[in-house]
């Protein structure tokens, strides 16, 4: 029972990591570079909610989520237009360094506006329910449900719509998809939109469960990396499973090792994956690894 509780907590945390990871892996699949600024989209989503629900508009949390998501999407689209699109044909080091610069810029801006201290949404810790000996808080249940709803929506989008088909085609082979006349601009915009949406939603859920600080993006970016690597870079479903796996191992590890080393697990997974199976565990086919 003791361990089952950790697994449940891990599943819920992991579903949020999965939200981060699918966005990161989608941008990797299409643009072939690792977007370091993805973590900052997570943090901006979370702080956006704080801003719109607090001093700025005083909206209730659930309604404040909409402008917060819109803000995050605007940041992602602006980043694409101003930073990534002009550099698309440069070498990969250039793009990577630019995304590191962008992430540093966005994080410092967050610190400038909100300060470096820990913050919360000021909600009272709700009472939880006990089901079959397992304890779940209201926020945790909300996190799980929201994450599942969004991931199911993504599944439907990717498999049932023409746009989803185009996305998968571009991720498979960008040049060929372009030759076949797919609207690349629209596909690019959609990828940024989706990845910002998922990052923002995940960031808010995380902020509701724990607290907000300007470095939250960076910490979760590394976990998202780990999930992406587990799933095989560019593989959306792999990233989802990878996120769940990281969440569960991390929470379960607390039962065996010093809790101070909890974050160690994600990093150890990254190194182990890179060493032994760089194409990812959940990769169905041997993906190209570069």
């Amino acid at each position: 029972m003791y361990h089952l509780q950790f697994i449940l907590n891990g599943l819920i945390a992991g579903s949020v990591y999965a939200l981060f990871a699918v966005g990161l892996t989608m941008t990797y699949g299409i643009f072939r570079f690792i977007n370091f600024a993805h973590g900052e989209l997570i943090a901006w989503g979370a702080y956006g909610l704080l801003w719109f629900s607090g001093p700025l508009l005083g909206l209730p949390l659930i309604w404040a989520a909409l402008p917060a998501i819109a803000l995050t999407i605007c940041i992602a689209l602006a980043a694409d237009k101003l930073v990534y699109a002009p550099l698309r044909h440069q070498d990969r080091i250039t793009l990577l360094i630019a995304s590191i610069g962008l992430s540093f810029f966005l994080r410092s801006l967050l610190q400038l506006v909100f300060g470096a201290e820990l913050m919360t949404y000021g909600r009272e810790a709700g009472r939880g329910w006990e089901i079959a000996g397992l304890y779940v808080t209201g926020v945790q249940a909300g996190m799980g449900i929201t994450a599942v709803a969004f991931l199911a929506g993504l599944y439907l989008l990717l498999t049932r719509t023409l746009l989803g088909k185009a996305l998968r085609a571009v991720s498979d082979n960008m040049e060929l998809a372009g030759i076949m006349g797919l609207p690349m601009h629209r596909v690019n915009r959609t990828v940024w939109l989706l990845s910002a949406l998922f990052a923002a939603v995940g960031g808010m859920l995380l902020g509701l469960d724990t607290s907000l600080d300007p470095f939250m993006g960076l910490a979760n970016l590394v976990k998202a990396f780990a999930a992406v690597l587990l799933g095989g870079a560019g593989n959306v479903w792999g990233a989802l499973l990878g996120g769940l796996f990281i969440g569960i191992t991390e929470n379960l590890s607390v039962a065996f090792i010093d809790p101070g080393y909890k974050d160690f697990v994600a990093f150890a997974v990254i190194i182990a994956m890179l060493l032994f199976r760089p194409q990812g565990i959940f990769a169905l086919t041997r993906g190209e690894v570069r």
Binding site: V83, I270, I271
Partner: protein, 293 residues
């Protein structure tokens, strides 16, 4: 006067750091995003040896060896990976090192850090000893620079550049690509360890919070601002970046606005990286025959 001396010591330390990253990023084309870990390993090693009563000079030498050894150990398995994945693996390593510094209290005193790190005997512990410390830093920096210069102008340096441009070509020429890369990383991380030791004995207090990704990004900025792959570029980059960073302390900023200084500095650094990549990816002192791609 003391501020100027302080800034100059910091410049020396960052010159060594920038040069050591440049050897990996500029010459070998490996982006080590965990560079700060080796800076930290050097700082802790040297500090612990000195605090155990051994001579500080020994500490510095051991710091170099330990950091370089760790670098080689990390590099050996992960160098099979190219490009972005090497960056992620080293980034993960740096985060692991940070968590290690934070949690192993018996060794590193955890989040409280190590206070009272002694300076070398012949320099003395007082503030007036600053010029002497600067002299030592200068000598070590010049030595590191001359060593690197010799290295990159040798056949080894030329082979590294071939690896950077095209590994297949290097292999076809009969070069052992893996060995070349490991040597580059070992020398680079060893020098980062030296910089860490120099820094630890200078500030006399270190804590895990000093060794975060921020520092790696600052070093990265020094390198790309100066010009990656150029011998003198990173020196220029380090001078500009550190004078900008430390120079802000002289500005008469009201106390209640102080909390805005660091974030604005961060925004400027981040923006500088983006603008550089868009307008001048080869830096202000570019490597000479850099082909346009």
């Amino acid at each position: 006067m003391n501020y100027l001396l302080h800034t100059l010591v910091m410049v020396m330390i960052y010159v060594v750091l920038a040069q050591s990253m440049n050897l990996q990023l500029g010459y070998a084309g490996l982006y080590n995003l965990g560079h700060v870990a080796f800076f930290g390993i050097g700082a802790y090693t040297s500090a612990l040896i000195a605090m155990a009563g051994w001579p500080e000079e020994l500490g510095m030498a051991v710091a170099m060896l330990v950091a370089g050894g760790c670098g080689a150990l990390v590099a050996f398995p992960v160098l099979r990976l190219t490009g972005d994945f090497f960056g992620i693996a080293t980034l993960a390593f740096a985060e692991m090192a940070y968590i290690f510094f934070l949690n192993e209290r018996w060794l590193t005193n955890g989040p409280m850090g190590l206070p009272g790190i002694p300076r070398p005997q012949w320099i003395g512990q007082e503030l007036t000893a600053l010029p002497l410390y600067l002299l030592m830093a200068l000598l070590l920096t010049v030595a590191a620079h001359l060593g690197l210069r010799r290295l990159v102008k040798s056949p080894f340096g030329r082979a590294l550049k071939v690896v950077r441009e095209d590994e297949q070509v290097a292999r076809a020429l009969g070069k052992n690509v893996l060995a070349l890369k490991i040597k580059a990383v070992a020398v680079g991380t060893g020098l980062a360890g030296l910089a860490g030791a120099l820094w630890a004995h200078y500030v006399t207090y270190i804590s895990p919070a000093d060794f975060t990704l921020q520092t790696t990004i600052l070093i990265l900025l020094c390198v790309v601002l100066g010009g990656k792959g150029s011998l003198h570029g990173p020196i220029l980059g380090a001078i500009i970046v550190i004078f900008f960073q430390e120079g802000l302390r002289f500005l008469p900023i009201p106390a209640d606005l102080n909390r805005f200084v660091a974030p604005i500095q961060g925004m400027v650094f981040g923006l500088a990286l983006i603008v550089l990549m868009r307008k001048r990816p080869s830096g202000i002192w570019p490597e000479h025959r850099r082909k346009k791609n």
